[in-house]
C-alpha cells in the first residue's frame, strides 16, 4: 500500500503532468498555472517543484529543452513524453478513485 508521502509526492507529480498536458511550459509557468487552475488554493513550493521536475525527467515522463520564453528570455521548457501521457491517465484514474472515496466518506458523516 502506498503511504502518505507517496501520495503527497504523487499528487505533485500528477499536478505537474496535468499542467503539461496542455503544452510545453517552463518551471515558473507550471507553478503559475497550478495556482491559477486551483484558484490560488494550491501553491507549489518551489523547493518541491524543481526536484519533482528533475525526478520526472529522470523517470522519462517529461523531457526538458532550452527555448526562448515569450518575454524573449532563454528558459527551460518541459513537455510531456508519451510515457508521461500514459502515466498521467493512470494517475488520474487512481486519484479520482481516491478522492471519490474520500468524498464518499465525508458525505457519509
Amino acid at each position: 500500500m502506498a503511504n502518505r508521502t507517496d501520495l503527497l509526492q504523487g499528487t505533485l507529480d500528477l499536478l505537474i503532468l496535468r499542467t503539461l498536458r496542455l503544452g510545453a511550459l517552463h518551471g515558473w509557468g507550471i507553478s503559475k498555472r497550478v495556482r491559477q487552475l486551483s484558484n490560488d488554493v494550491l501553491q507549489i513550493n518551489q523547493g518541491s517543484l524543481y526536484p519533482a521536475l528533475y525526478r520526472l525527467e529522470e523517470r522519462g515522463l517529461i523531457q526538458a529543452e532550452w527555448g526562448i520564453s515569450p518575454e524573449g528570455r532563454k528558459a527551460k521548457f518541459y513537455t510531456l513524453t508519451e510515457k508521461g501521457r500514459e502515466d498521467l491517465a493512470e494517475e488520474r484514474a487512481s486519484w479520482r478513485a481516491f478522492s471519490g472515496a474520500v468524498e464518499a466518506v465525508l458525505r457519509a458523516t
Binding site: 503511504n3 502518505r4 508521502t5 503527497l8 509526492q9 517552463h26 518551471g27 515558473w28 507553478s31 503559475k32 513550493n45 518551489q46 523547493g47 518541491s48 524543481y50 526536484p51 519533482a52 528533475y54 525526478r55 529522470e58 532550452w66 520564453s69 518575454e71 528570455r73 532563454k74 528558459a75 527551460k76
Partner: protein, 876 residues
C-alpha cells in the same frame, strides 16, 4: 565520484542556475506588475524561493550519487545544529575525549614498545643468539667464548657477530675527579657498526681496538657526557680513569641511542653509560663458561630462513662435538621480540581492555545519538517528506556524528598527551623502550581512524532507525516508533555483555594480585634497607681484600644505633641476580648413577654471615655461616634450600653431607627456606648459598635490618660506610619493601588501568540500563497512572517496569559470560593462582554487574510508582 559525473555536474549546475534565475526573475516581474517596487519584488521572489542554493542542492539529490563538495555544507549544517543542542554535543565530546585519551595513551605505549621498529639500521635483521641448554633447565643461556669464535668463522649468512656483557665501572679515582660508579657495557669492536649507530661526536671503536693489549678506549653515553663533563666537546681524546686504567675517550653516543643488554635469566640490564671493549681473547675462556651476550646481523642479501638454517646447522655440530648430543641448540631471537617479550602480555591485555571500553563507549554514544534522532524525528521526517532522499538524511546524521567524533578525538588527543605522561610516571622502571613512547604520526593516524569509526558506528543506529520510521505516522505526531527502542535495547545488551567481559578480566587480575600480595615470599622485607656497593678494582685486589672491606662495612653498619643486624649478598630476592651452577650430591640416596640425571642446575649466590637472619630467611636445619667461614680456609661450606634438601635427602639428614659445586667439594652446614629470586609469581629453581669468601664478588648489596624506620637511618648508614672508606661510591640505597613493590609495579599498573576501564564500563552500562528504563517509564506514564489509580500496589508497579531491564541484564550476563572465556585467554599469562574460568571471580563479577544494573533500573522504576494518576491521564 567520477570525473565524468563531476563534469556533468558542472553543466547541470549552470543549467540549474539559469533555470532558477529565470524563475525568480519571472516571479519578480509578476510582483512588479501588481505594483510592488522593483527591489521589494525581487526580495520577495527570492524569499519565496527560500534561497537558490538549497534547491539546487536538493535538485542534485534527486539525481543520486555522493558529492564531495556537499561535505562542506553538511559539516556547516552539523555544526549549526549541534550548537543548538550543546548539552548533547558536550556529553558526547566529553565521553569521546575520555575514551580517545585512554585509547591514544595506551596505544602510544604499545606502539612505542611493541610495534615501532627499533632505531637501528635495518632492525629486522638483528638477532640475539642464546645457547639453548634445555637439558639443564636454561632455555636461554649466554654463549661461550669458543662458540662465538666458531660462529664468526663458520657462518657466511651473517654480516657479523658482536658480543656484549653488562658490567659496571668506576669513573675517576681521586679528589677533583670524584669516583662515580656507572653502568657499563663491555662490547666487541664491531658492536656499533653492526647496530648501524654512529657517535654524535668522535668516532666508534676501530677494528683492532678489542684485540689483546690494545690501548684502552671508551665511548660515553650522552647522559654521562652532559652530566659529568658538562657536554664539553674537548673530552674527545682525553684520558679518564676507568676502573683504575687511563682510558682514552674516543666518542659520545647520540642522545637517542639506547641498547638494553638482556640478561640471560632476568630482565634488561641498566642502559650503559660507558662502553668499553673487552679484549678479544674469546678462545681463552673455558668451554663451559657461558658469559657472552651475542648480537648478530643477517646479511641483507640473505633471507632470514636460510641464515637461521645455517645457524641451526652449526648448533647441531656443536651439540655433537661439545655437548655429547645432550640436546644443545642455538636459540636465535629477534632483537625486538626479545626486548619486549616480558611486557607484551601486559600491553596486549591493556590494548584489549581499552578496545572493549571503546566498543562499550560506541554503544553508549549510539544510544545518545538515537535519543537525539528521536527528538529530531519530526524534523528529519518532514525533510524526507518534502523530498530529501534517505541517503541525504543518512549522510546528514553521519556527518554530524563524525564531526562530533573528530572534535572529541582532538580533545582526546590533547588529553591523551597528559594521560600518557601520567601513565609513564606509573610505569614500572623496567619498561623497555620507554624513551620511544610518544604521540607520533602512527598514533595520530590510528586515533583518527578510531574516531572516524566511532563516528560512523554511533551514527548507524539513528540512520537505521530513521530509515525505518513510518513517515506518515510521525507526521501525524502520534505513534512512537518501536524500532528505535529495539535498536536501543540491543545496544544496551551489548554494553552489558561487554562490561561483563571487561569486569571479568579485572576480577581475575585483582584475584591474582591479592594472591601475590599474600604470598609467602620466603623473606621479610619490612624494615630492611639495602645498600648496593662496588669495591673498586683499583683499590681492592680480588679475593681476600674484597671480603675484608665488606666485613668492615657490615661491622661499621652494625654499630649504628637502631640497626638490628647486617648482612650482604650479591643477589637480592626478586632481582634475578643469582649465578647458576651445576650441583651434585654424591652421597644422596636418590642418585640413579646417571650423572646427567643426578646433576642439577641451581641458583647460587655468595652471602656474608648474618645475611639470612637479616633478610628474614628461615634456617630450618643446621646454622647460618659464621665469621669463621670468612676465612677462605673454612669457606668450603654451603647452605642449601629446603627444595634441594628434600630432593636429595628425603630422610632429612642433609646437614653434614658433602656436595660438588662446579667441581669443588662443599660441606652442607644448613638448610634454609626457599626464596623467590626472580619475581613474585615465579617460584624459581633450587638454590644454595655460599660464603662471600668462596665467591668474593666485589659488587654486593648490604642489607640492614633496623628497629626503627629504615629510611631514617639512610644518612647514618652512608656515614658509617664513608667512615670506613671515604671514597666508596654508593650505587643505590633502597628499601626492601620498595624492591617488592617494584616487582609488582607492572601488575599494579595493569590492574589499575583495567580496573579503571572496568569501572567506566560499569558506569556506562548502568547509564544504558537507566536510560532504557527511564524511557519505558516515560512512555508508559499513562498506563502506570491508571494502574496506580486502580490501586495497584507499589511492588507490582515497580516490577512491571523493572522486569524488562532485568531480562536485559540477565541476557547480557549470559552473553557476557560466554565472552569472558575469550577474556580469560587474553589475561591468562598475567594470572597467578587463578584459573581464567575461576567460578568464584566470575560469580562475584556477575553479581556486581547485576546489582549495579538493577539499581540503575530501580531508580526510574520507583519514579513510576509516584506517578500522579491525574497528571498521567491528562498528559495525553
Amino acid at each position: 565520484m567520477s570525473i565524468r559525473n563531476l563534469f556533468r555536474r558542472q553543466v547541470r549546475d549552470r543549467e540549474m542556475d539559469a533555470e532558477m534565475r529565470f524563475h525568480i526573475d519571472m516571479e519578480a516581474a509578476e510582483l512588479e506588475r501588481t505594483g510592488v517596487p522593483a527591489d521589494e519584488a525581487r526580495r520577495r521572489a527570492l524569499a519565496s524561493f527560500g534561497g537558490v542554493q538549497r534547491y539546487k542542492e536538493e535538485g542534485h539529490e534527486t539525481r543520486g550519487g555522493m558529492r564531495l563538495e556537499e561535505l562542506g555544507r553538511d559539516v556547516r549544517y552539523s555544526v549549526r545544529s549541534l550548537w543548538h543542542s550543546r548539552g548533547f554535543a558536550g556529553v558526547v565530546i566529553l565521553t569521546l575525549a575520555l575514551g580517545i585519551a585512554a585509547n591514544a595513551s595506551i596505544f602510544s605505549v604499545a606502539n612505542g614498545v611493541l610495534f615501532k621498529a627499533l632505531p637501528y639500521r635495518d632492525p629486522g635483521k638483528l638477532l640475539v643468539i642464546w645457547d639453548g641448554l634445555e637439558m639443564v633447565g636454561v632455555p636461554e643461556a649466554w654463549v661461550t667464548g669458543p662458540e662465538v669464535v666458531r660462529l664468526r668463522n663458520e657462518l657466511t649468512s651473517f654480516e657479523g657477530f658482536a658480543t656484549i656483557r653488562s658490567s659496571s665501572a668506576t669513573i675517576g679515582s681521586s679528589a677533583g675527579d670524584e669516583p662515580q660508579q656507572v653502568p657499563a657495557s663491555l662490547v666487541s669492536a664491531n658492536f656499533f657498526q653492526l647496530l648501524g649507530v654512529t657517535p654524535e661526536i668522535g668516532r666508534s671503536f676501530a677494528a683492532r681496538e678489542d684485540a689483546a693489549g690494545a690501548e684502552p678506549v671508551a665511548l660515553l653515553s650522552h647522559r654521562l657526557w652532559t652530566q659529568r663533563y658538562g657536554a664539553d666537546r674537548s673530552i674527545i681524546g682525553k684520558r679518564v680513569m676507568v676502573d683504575g686504567n687511563a682510558t682514552t675517550i674516543i666518542g659520545v653516543l647520540p642522545q637517542t641511542f639506547r641498547y638494553s643488554a638482556q640478561n640471560s635469566l632476568g630482565s634488561a640490564a641498566d642502559v650503559a653509560d660507558v662502553y668499553l671493549t673487552f679484549a678479544d681473547t674469546l678462545s681463552r675462556f673455558p668451554r663451559g663458561q657461558h658469559f657472552l651476550g651475542v648480537l648478530a646481523r643477517i646479511r641483507s642479501d640473505v633471507g632470514t630462513p636460510r641464515a637461521l638454517a645455517e645457524l641451526a646447522g652449526l648448533g647441531q655440530r656443536l651439540n655433537e662435538e661439545n655437548y655429547g648430543k645432550a640436546g644443545f641448540s642455538f636459540k636465535p631471537v629477534f632483537l625486538q621480540e626479545r626486548m619486549v617479550r616480558e611486557v607484551r602480555p601486559a600491553l596486549m591485555v591493556l590494548l584489549a581492555a581499552v578496545g572493549v571500553l571503546m566498543l562499550i563507549m560506541c554503544a553508549n554514544l549510539a544510544v545518545l545519538a538515537l535519543v537525539r534522532a528521536a527528538r529530531r524525528e519530526h524534523e528529519l521526517t518532514v525533510r524526507r517528506a518534502i523530498g530529501a532522499g534517505a541517503a541525504r538524511i543518512a549522510r546528514q546524521i553521519l556527518t554530524e556524528t563524525t564531526v562530533l567524533s573528530l572534535v572529541g578525538a582532538a580533545a582526546g588527543t590533547l588529553l591523551g598527551v597528559w594521560a600518557l605522561r601520567g601513565l609513564l610516571a606509573m610505569a614500572p622502571p623496567g619498561l623497555p623502550r620507554r624513551e620511544e613512547i610518544g604521540i607520533d604520526v602512527t598514533v595520530l593516524l590510528v586515533t583518527l581512524g578510531v574516531a572516524l569509526l566511532v563516528g560512523i558506528a554511533m551514527g548507524l543506529a539513528p540512520v537505521f532507525h530513521s530509515l525505518r520510521a513510518d513517515i506518515a505516522s510521525v507526521l501525524r505526531e502520534k505513534a512512537r516508533s518501536r524500532s528505535g527502542s529495539r535498536v536501543r535495547r540491543t545496544l544496551v545488551l551489548a554494553q552489558l555483555a561487554l562490561s561483563m567481559v571487561l569486569l571479568a578480566g579485572t576480577g581475575l587480575l585483582l584475584a591474582s594480585f591479592v594472591k601475590l600480595l599474600h604470598l609467602d615470599q620466603g623473606f621479610d622485607a619490612r624494615r630492611v634497607l639495602t645498600v648496593q656497593l662496588m669495591a673498586p678494582r683499583a683499590k681492592y685486589a680480588s679475593g681476600r681484600p674484597v671480603v675484608e672491606i665488606f666485613r668492615r662495612y657490615t661491622d661499621a653498619l652494625s654499630a649504628v644505633p637502631g640497626v638490628v643486624s647486617v648482612g650482604a649478598t650479591s643477589a637480592l630476592p626478586l632481582s634475578a641476580g643469582s649465578d647458576q651452577s651445576g650441583a651434585y650430591f654424591p652421597s644422596s640416596p636418590t642418585n640413579t648413577g646417571d650423572r646427567q640425571k643426578d646433576r642439577l642446575l641451581v641458583d647460587n649466590a655468595p652471602i656474608t654471615p648474618g645475611y639470612l637472619r637479616t633478610m628474614g630467611i628461615d634456617v630450618l636445619e643446621g646454622r647460618e655461616f659464621d665469621a669463621l667461614n670468612l676465612d677462605s680456609a673454612n669457606a668450603k661450606v654451603v647452605i642449601i634450600d629446603d627444595l634441594l634438601a628434600r630432593r636429595y635427602f628425603p630422610g632429612g639428614n642433609a646437614v653434614g653431607q658433602f656436595m660438588t659445586l662446579d667441581g669443588d667439594s662443599l660441606r652442607v652446614v644448613g638448610v634454609s627456606r626457599h626464596v623467590r629470586m626472580y619475581s613474585l609469581q615465579d617460584f624459581g629453581r633450587e638454590q644454595l648459598w655460599v660464603p662471600h669468601s668462596y665467591t668474593p664478588y666485589r659488587s654486593m648489596t648490604l642489607v640492614v635490618r633496623t628497629s626503627v624506620d629504615p629510611m631514617s637511618l639512610a644518612g647514618a648508614a652512608r656515614n658509617a660506610i664513608r667512615g670506613v672508606d671515604a671514597a666508596q661510591p654508593i650505587i643505590s640505597m633502597r628499601l626492601m619493601t620498595d624492591v617488592v613493590s617494584d616487582a609488582l609495579a607492572e601488575r599494579r599498573l595493569v590492574l589499575t588501568l583495567v580496573g579503571a576501564f572496568g569501572a567506566a564500563a560499569l558506569l556506562l552500562a548502568a547509564l544504558g540500563v537507566y536510560g532504557v528504563t527511564a524511557s519505558t517509564v516515560a512512555q508508559r506514564t499513562r498506563e502506570l497512572g491508571i494502574r496506580v489509580a486502580l490501586g495497584a500496589d507499589r511492588g507490582s508497579v515497580v516490577w512491571s517496569v523493572l522486569s524488562e531491564p532485568a531480562r536485559l541484564v540477565g541476557t547480557g550476563l549470559v552473553i557476557g559470560l560466554a565472552g569472558t572465556f575469550a577474556a580469560g585467554r587474553v589475561v591468562e599469562r598475567l594470572l597467578y593462582g587463578v584459573k581464567p574460568t575461576d567460578p568464584l571471580t566470575l560469580a562475584a563479577v556477575a553479581l556486581l554487574l547485576l546489582g549495579v544494573a538493577i539499581l540503575a533500573g530501580y531508580i526510574p522504576a520507583r519514579r513510576a510508582t509516584r506517578v500522579d494518576p491525574m497528571v498521567a491521564l491528562r498528559s495525553e
